[in-house]
Subunit: 102 residues, 2 copies
C-alpha cells in the first residue's frame, strides 16, 4: 500500500498545478476577516478549524477556491463559501501567500 | 467584516462538534499510506498537498471524513476518497490524533 501511495505521488508530481506566487503583503491586508476563526497569527481559535500558519500556499489556494466554487460541502463549507465568495483568484493567491508565510 | 467573522465564530463555537480523542499510537500504525504524499513526519512532499503535522485533530477528522464521504470534489479529492474509503470512523479519529501530535 505504501508503494501504491508512492506511485500515486509520482503520478501527481508529474501533473501541472498552480505555482503562482501570491503577494503576502496584499494578502495580509485582506486577512482580517479570516482572523475571527483562524486566528490573527493563523492558529485557529477552535479545534475544528484548521491552522493556516505555515501551510503550503498552493494547497491553501486550491482549498479556498474549492470552498468558493462549491466543491466542498462538509464542516464549515457553507460559511467558507460565503467568506470566499467576494475573493478574486488574485485575492486568494495573496491570502495563501500570507498565511503560508506565518 | 471582522465583527461579522467574530459573530460567526461565536455561533459556531456554540455548535457541537466531534471532540472524540483518537489513539495516536493506533493512528501511527495506519499512517504509512499517508506518507507517500504527506511525508513521514506530516510535512507534505509537494506544495499542493497540505502539511498535516500539528494540525488540529478535530479538523483533520472532519476533513478525512469529508473526503471519504464524497463531500470534497476539488484538488486531490478523488485520490483522497480512495485512500479514505477503507477507513472506519475510529481509524480516522486515530489518524487525526497521530498527525495532530507531530
Amino acid at each position: 500500500m505504501k508503494l501504491k501511495a508512492l506511485l500515486i505521488a509520482g503520478v501527481i508530481a508529474a501533473m501541472p498545478f498552480s505555482a503562482q506566487a501570491g503577494d503576502a503583503a496584499a494578502g495580509k491586508a485582506k486577512a482580517a476577516t479570516c482572523a475571527g476563526c483562524h486566528g490573527a497569527n493563523g492558529i485557529a481559535v477552535m479545534p475544528n478549524y484548521p491552522n493556516l500558519a505555515g501551510q503550503n500556499a498552493a494547497y491553501l489556494e486550491s482549498a479556498l477556491k474549492a470552498y468558493r466554487d462549491g466543491q466542498r460541502s462538509a464542516g464549515q463549507a457553507a460559511i467558507m463559501k460565503g467568506m470566499a465568495a467576494p475573493l478574486s483568484d488574485e485575492d486568494i493567491s495573496n491570502l495563501a501567500a500570507y498565511f503560508s508565510s506565518l
